[in-house]
Subunit: 600 residues, 2 copies
């Protein structure tokens, strides 16, 4: 019953009109990606998502996973779908040509992510993890590790995981207990239990390459003593370049000492194995420097956080498409201002202002996030620019925007799927119509890769003051300039004025957070979540004003006029929440911290 | 893993200190219910809920229902639990003594509802429906129907349903197609299909008594042509008082022409059968007058709406209790202001302001709703007062408060379960810890018994202007008086001032809604949801100020000081959303209604 059309036209608008995407990637070794080529790739991927992934989405939810004797079997059809993607080269697209990829820029990959998430969130996580491991190995591994792992990780022939959480240590990784004992041959033996490991075990691929954080026996306390290890499910058959002379022959190609002792039963993403992984004297190789595991892990984590943000958008989009289709068909009641369709027993429910309020809020949330997603994609590419200034700016903005995208997009995604369910009434609650699955699936995105509360603390407690405040200035300079440029354009007033007000508010709130937070970190932490949401609103307001700036020049085009209408919905219906957020941030921490704990 | 303690102390505080519950029921034939007796009843019921219903809740979710050959089998243990409740007389408590009940006042029944919802929402719906049918039969049935049905409905030996929705008609009941053909013997033959019928078929009871809305052949168009019929699963064996002479002997005690052709697969309340019911020339009896079915149906519906509101509270409460217990145990990170527990590897997460923000928001939402629930319960009793003034005021206030309680409590319940899940991180998303079930179960409460959008329209478009505005005046008089009384009490300023501001805002917004709405109903409908939420905030602010008024007099008591702390959390963290709501209400309807439909 579920329908889905990839939002190609939306992306073309953003790539070509709102942002100068093709210009932005020139000079970053991506000249071959012109609009025609990108359209072809996007449509090919869209077809794969719609025709291969989407039909499996409900099957995966209903059937779930089978766990037996340490092995996880994916739901019917998943292995074939995965292999089809691997063989077509889809999963390698963003990787280097020497590893079988096509060097696709991040900005397009981000867009393609949206389609995969919409059509099969559970499966879409697997390539994201594989690519995270690919980046770590190619960026920080020895040449031998790169040779052995990069190509197979790139294509998806082998999959990857990120093993951080332990039963007693989730947010607080400083207290992990997994140990890594150095061996004479240069390898390590890793022992410990990791939980909540997505795709820790499954039958999609021949090998699974785990990135495990652990501590060596004499490591410093806390996170400064964490190192990162590559621990493969199957040990290498042969070690071509001689870097592993010590690995005795009997271990070659053998199963490493890793076992999956169970999978979690979860509210959603039933087709995504969440595993308890036991590392028992497993052979592992150090990635990067000893005791430098946290920054490396965060390289991967930050990329996953942006991908997680896109989950909010992807599920928000497919929920919207289905509830809109429902609303177009469903006839209940009459337009309060007068019967619209006298021939029928009732008008369709789009005549009701409250139904429009719900659908348009959903639509506008999606459109705003998509625009910001494109900008973030561009910045990810620019982080690799040869122009140092471009690179510096991109890195600073990505640092700042990562927690906002992760937290705000996923908060909105949860709200949007709920709103779309509400549009459909009782049908929305029934499995038959799909939206309830999206509502369950998207909920994890607020939790994993660092809860949204952690994102907010990262933003308020670290990112805004990082680099002596340069992160923030890289954002504020062009933003203030944009506001200034549009000040005298009458058609822009309805968008530019509230943006201006909001930005002023953000500056004041930032000052408050920083100044109060220095004296009392509780103040900063108590306001962090609301501050992050305020900031998210400002970013979306900026995106909407940018889009409006383009669209006021196209009075003839239905598409562009609808985008202006969307911008209005944003500023009138969604953006006013900033006023309330400013008040709660200012209310401080005392009423929270002075609450008698025993009486909670 | 799930734990639960009925909030007895909270109710004692509300019954005895905040409201004068025992005074309010005197003169309504309830003198025997003194505090000791009520405590005994509450504790007995609490024990039944905790020991019998709670252990089945997760089983019901996991096992679900079996549908086979038109019959629905309840999950393991449900039939026994139900029978135990019936035999103990629990379900009849509120009914008249002559029907096996004890005439328990509504105010206590409302409180007891909360416990049942917390411990087993799926099952808690069954007695609510049965009592709704009981009220309709005893209030509007012939003596013969009363004699035959009331006692069995009261005790729960027989169950009841409300059959409204049809595949094409949910919100819009004016277009139903179910027909009722009058027979010479005074009965009707009912034919049609009803969907989303909760407890339409199951094995809990020997008989199921359906309240069905249908149209007679010559009925007027729309809702003015709807009549209400009692249609039992099994026809009466003997009709004692001769009112049914025409019913031929071969039909007696026979299965009526009713079949269940399927049950829905839903996101939650897996142990609650949601049935497609086919009425095929079924024998039915008219309840009340011909073509007067809607007001009668609404009598039952309004009671169910209040009960649905309590679902938001019940699930919010058990979610809170479990996430609090988790937070007390869970150790992650350190207090930002300095290590609290140096002996442990980490402090418990209650030291983190953002965790407190989440837990306290949840707690305070629950406490505020509970207070308003008690007031509503008192008003339900006062609707039966012999003092006509008391009765009139109670009816007006119930009319006004019903949509607010239904919509606002369930909105908050969905938010609270989500917040509590967030506190627990990944564990919150795993079935093992229970909260994810509450998150799924509570979501239906925003949809059924009239979606929350419909509640908002009922409030804004009907209830505030009904009785020439008397509904609203019955609320405003004491509210304004309360504000006046507290104006000069310094300790009340932090609560009384924002309440005063909010009430002024409500008056202005109400004027705006009514004046603009007269000219353009789209304006009113576009703002209705936000208006309802604004109103909900005012009601909870009123409750908090009332509670604070009591607590400032008890500086020595930990309990009362914690309530003052709760009141502060409400006014500082939750209440400020009213500022944003005022803005969105004022933003009107144009940006919604002018959005080009084809471009949605």
């Amino acid at each position: 019953m579920v329908e889905y059309t990839p939002p190609y036209a939306e992306y073309e608008f953003l790539f070509n009109e709102v942002f100068d995407v093709y210009d932005s990637i020139s000079g970053i070794d991506h000249e071959e990606f012109d609009a025609d080529f990108v359209r072809m790739i996007m449509e090919g991927w869209g077809e794969y998502c719609t025709e291969v992934l989407l039909p499996l989405n409900e099957i995966g939810d209903r059937e779930g996973l089978t766990f037996k004797a340490g092995e996880v079997t994916m739901p019917t059809g998943f292995v074939d779908a995965w292999k089809e993607g691997v063989e077509a080269g889809w999963y390698a697209a963003i990787c280097k040509p020497e590893h079988g990829g096509m060097g696709l820029p991040h900005v397009f990959r981000n867009a393609m992510d949206e389609f995969a998430i919409s059509t099969n969130m559970a499966l879409s996580v697997v390539p994201a993890l594989g690519l995270g491991v690919y980046d770590l190995v190619t960026g920080h591994g020895t040449n031998e590790l790169i040779d052995h792992y990069s190509a197979n990780l790139a294509t998806g022939l082998w999959c990857g995981t990120m093993c951080l959480t332990e039963p007693h240590a989730g947010t607080d990784l400083g207290i992990i207990r997994t140990k890594a004992i150095p061996q004479d041959d240069g390898t390590y033996r890793v022992t410990g239990t990791k939980i909540f490991i997505t795709a820790g075990e499954h039958d999609l691929s021949d090998n699974i390459v785990h990135m495990v954080i652990a501590k060596t026996p004499d490591a410093p306390e806390g996170t400064r003593g964490i190192s990162l290890f590559l621990v493969p499910k199957f040990l290498p058959k042969e070690w071509e370049s001689g870097g592993l002379e010590g690995l005795s022959q009997e271990l070659a190609d053998a199963r490493n000492g890793i076992s999956c002792s169970g999978i979690e039963h979860k509210m959603g993403i039933h087709a995504s194995p969440t595993c308890v992984m036991n590392f028992d004297d497993s052979v592992g190789w150090l990635i990067g420097e000893l005791n430098n595991g946290m920054p490396l892990m965060f390289e991967m984590m930050n990329r996953e956080r942006l991908a997680t943000g896109m989950m909010g958008l992807g599920l928000g989009e497919i929920a919207y498409q289905n509830s809109l289709a429902w609303a177009r068909d469903r006839r209940q009641g009459r337009d309060l201002a007068g019967v619209r369709d006298p021939a029928a027993a009732a008008d369709n429910i789009l005549v009701h202002p409250d139904v429009r309020r719900m659908l348009l809020t959903a639509k506008v949330n999606n459109e705003g996030c998509r625009a910001l997603g494109v900008w973030v994609g561009m910045l990810l590419d620019q982080m690799h620019s040869e122009d140092e200034k471009v690179q510096e700016r991109a890195k600073a903005l990505i640092a700042l925007l990562t927690p906002i995208v992760k937290a705000h997009f996923t908060d909105l995604g949860c709200e949007t799927t709920s709103t779309c369910m509400q549009v459909m009434g009782g049908a929305g609650y029934c499995s038959e119509f799909g939206v309830e699955q999206f509502y369950r699936d998207v909920r994890i995105s607020k939790i994993w890769e660092g809860t949204n509360g952690i994102q907010a603390l990262d933003l308020a407690g670290r990112k805004i003051t990082q680099n002596l405040g340069r992160n923030l200035r890289f954002l504020m300079w062009p933003l203030v300039e944009f506001i200034e440029e549009n000040r005298d354009i009458p058609e822009m007033a309805e968008f530019n004025k509230p943006l201006h007000q909001g930005v002023r508010g953000l500056q004041q709130l930032t000052l408050l957070m920083v100044s109060q937070g220095m004296g009392n970190p509780h103040f900063l932490a108590a306001g962090a979540t609301d501050y992050c949401r305020y900031f998210g609103n400002i970013m979306l307001a900026y995106m909407w004003a940018k889009m409006a700036r383009v669209c006021i020049q196209r009075p003839d085009s239905e598409f562009h006029q609808a985008k202006l209408a969307s911008a209005r919905v944003f500023f009138k219906r969604i953006y006013p929440e900033t006023v309330a957020l400013a008040a709660t941030i200012q209310s401080g921490h005392k009423h929270l911290m002075e609450y008698p704990e025993a009486m909670m």
